[in-house]
Amino acid sequence: MLTEQQADLAITESQKGLLVLDSRVAAKHLYNQIIQFDLDPAAVPAEAVGPALLALVAVQPALRQVFTALPAIHARLTAPPTAEGFPLTHLDVPPQDYPEAVAALARELGPMAFDLATGPAYRFGTVRATDNSAATILLVGHHIVGDGVSMGPIVRDLEALFTGRLAGEAIAAKQVERETALRKELQAQNRVAAQDRTTERAKQWAAALREVPPLVLQPRPNRPTQTAFTGARVAWRLDEAESARFTQTCKRLGVTSFVLLSGVYGAVLARHGAVSKVLVGSPFMARRTIGAFDLCGFFVNTLPVTVDVDWARTVDEHLAEHVRPAIDFCRSHVDVSFNQLVEHAQPDRSSNRNPLFSAMLAMQDTFDPATAQAVVRVREPGNGTAKFDLWLGATPIDGRWQLELEYDRELISPAVADGLLDSLRTALRRAVADGSRTLAELFEDAPLAESLRTDGQPARVEAATLSQWFEQSVAATPQAVAIEDPHNRLTYAELAAAATTAAAGLAAHGIGPGDVVGLALDTLADTVVAIMAILRRGAVFLPLDSGLPTERLAYMADKAGCRTVLGAPLVPDLTVLNMAELAEGGTDTSSLASADSPVYVMFTSGSTGQPKGVQMGHGPLLNLTGWQHAALRMGRQTRFLQYAPLGFDVSYQEILPTLLCGGTVVSREPADRRDFPAMLRRIADTAVTHVYLPVAALRPLVQCAKANQVSLPALRYLCVSGEQLLVDEEIREFFVAHPHCTLVNLYGPTETHAVTSHRLSARDEQWPPHVPIGLPYPNVAAYVVDVTGHLAPVGVPGELYLGGDCPAEGYVNDPQITAERFVADRFDGGTAYRTGDRVVREPDGVLVFLGREDTQVKIRGYRVELGEIQTVATAVYGVLEAVAVARGSGVDRELALFVLGEGPVDHEALRAKLAEALPEYMVPTWIFDLDRVPTTPTGKTDLDALVALADELVTERRIDSAAAPADYQDALEAELAGIWAEVLGVDSVLRDRPVMAYGAHSLNIFTALAQVQERYGVPVPVVDFFSSPTVATLAGLVRTALAGA
């Protein structure tokens, strides 16, 4: 018996850490380990096994530990067990049932939780074939009493016990000797852990670890942060030739198997996680005393190996000059405990994942069959659990490496796990075959078919040009209504006649194929007539929005080579024609349109400080039209609302496909685009079947419909695009109330037009909150290109390249930027457009948008290059540096600009310059001064820090505003200010300060105005309010409206 004093053990920091982790997880068998010792049945009689296991526990005191939290966390040794109550299950089974019986017993014993307070922390199972052809021992133990190195001492003890070298009184002597050794080892470990030198080394190491990006395998929105740690395994065993090359590679480079596997595994993880540096956790042997090498026990220290991955580096250089030193670093710091690293690195602890690393590599190579007689093979089967997102176990079995990946089933799907194993298999085979390969060359493309998979809709193109297709449409339905606006209804015949006349007018003014004609017309009918006329001339239309600054319009026209504008004289020095002038004279010719001619130029934000003009050709637009006809069930009954400004490519989808199938394009007017109650009325009154909105407008529309109990029985397709679509029950309810209507989420940059879609309807019971961008249209290739430059397997994030029949011709008169973004399609020929969008392909094939590769942001659906704002700002006198960031989410997302000046920066002058050069949605809501631009440790501008600072400063300014005296002129102003304060989430709003200064934007302005209308019963002229968006102006408008009511 042991005395109480003898029994108490001061456990190590690692053990304490494990106990804490164990107490926090719901899966109480998570830290159960199963070791299978296959025996030589001839060398080990059945009756010898039970007594040997009893003796094993006697001479391995760590197995007899129980753990107590009070008064301080410590362990106690229990007495050696007796046969009575010894946790041993024995099975004799027919030889044909033997393998399954072993597996079944492991499944039975493995998941049973241990009570560490009372013990035992182990249990055994034995299985023997009745013909004595096979026998095995299963040891299930809690990790707190054993580690990978423990396998060696256990095997040696079993060998000694089975061969009689350890027997009788020697067992009792060995028990005492081992208990003493265990105490000494614990003392030694605790002494070293407390040393100041160790603490200092831990701090330095932790600082370096903070710079390593987190490894997220199979990234996706709403990836769980808490899991139940259920696991599954996939495995691959090298063949003899591969194993031989493996060994030769290690020898040639003078590295260990651990270095080789860490290097290749690290590269696989970097590919799948899209990072250039990964932390691979590995158990490092931390035994200190000589006596401890005969002990079973938890003496490992699990430490992160930093694998730096440069895809252009050769395998040899990677392994010998980077991975080996990284592992040597860990080995030379093995006195630093995992707990110390966590303490100093202070990682995010909001999940129940491992705080330092999500991937693990365990070398299970401590069993040496050459020294064993009774035990012929040792392995560690899985237990249906996963302690890490991904774990790689490497076990030499009969001279060949067995590699097993164990993955958390909630985080990694089986298809993605297979992809990881494929990557590992290919990379390892290539690494050991040729060390001169680069790391990128270790991988291969995912099957091309995945990139070419489409949504299954047809795309029937029924004419060579849009103009010709329109003529067919006119011939088929001459008397059908093509255009409907508040002032006009044009039949197809009338529209065609007007377009032909206008084309003749254009011809008379010298407009022919390839000429760019600006469009700045007021009505939908005139605009459509002009578009069809321009296309008939084989010319190109350039939308010019009167809301844009003159400086920007002039740049656009100049860049596009536009010398003629139809409509308003927005740009000085250009020829301006109105529709009446075009109708005078001129002789019509047949259509000059050709399939090779461009259709339009549309400008989009450019990071270099100027917008970029996308020149779109016929091919992609014909394909898109064909798809849209099929996918949105478009035909003569289609009534498509024309909502989008002409300068946005969505306007094409509203107008042309409708006209090319005999449908009706319905103007949104007289409703203001930003006035949701009015828009909803217009949608209801005109019984449109198709509506296409920016994502940011979906929720206000749905809310408006609900508040006003408006039903839209004619609506069949509600399309959205522009930014990531997030849906919830409120939005789904609208579609449940409109079961005949489908929500279509479309995706595509201006450079390719819409190219993918994902649809949802009331029939879908589960709506993904973060809606995928879906599958491509026919003839469109969607390549997800990973960090190695290969087609990414499912679950691997990468940049989306778009090929096939969708890329535009390029940026007009900008060959340099065109060459950067429109690249040769090396996968399937032709040209591919690099979107800069980060996406991932889900196992079911749909694409999910993850974010941007650069600083492009979306503000209420508008595409904004932050660099463009910065360029304008730094051109202002006195501004040395400017950094723009986007803060907030959804419709409340807004821009903030930080400026660093030579001296004080004049914010008003800066704001005026920004408003002069940029569209309204690109003018930052907030401008702040900076003393210095914060940087990350790697020297990059710390945008996260600036976003956090912006949040802080915006809050401060809003508090300051609230504190200022709100000097209202009358009760009406005070009431209106109250409405604004509530909508904007601020304490108060000054009467003469623009509401934009409080975070108002076009969408929430309409929410506020709708409330004003509801309360006072009079409509507010929206355009007048926008001219001076203050409480004082609003009060004046309300007073006037009430007086006139």
Binding site: A188, G254, V255, T256, R288, T289, I290, D328, D335, D365
Partner: protein, 80 residues
Amino acid sequence: MTAPLDLDATIGKYATGAFDDSTPLLEVGLESLSLLRLAVEVAADDDAEIDATRLAELRVVGDLKAWLGDLAVVDGAASC
């Protein structure tokens, strides 16, 4: 002090080929596990401690012999 050990002979039991002091350890199959077995074999007694942080510095057989030599003569104190 213990009697001088024949370190070459002891190392020879674990090495997979011929070696001299300049032979890289991995060239003769001496990985961390076999280094530890060697350490256990030559250590002065069970109370002796191995400073595993020094294992990473061992590159050639000569390094190993120096390390084992230290281990063989310590008397229970840490061999840092």
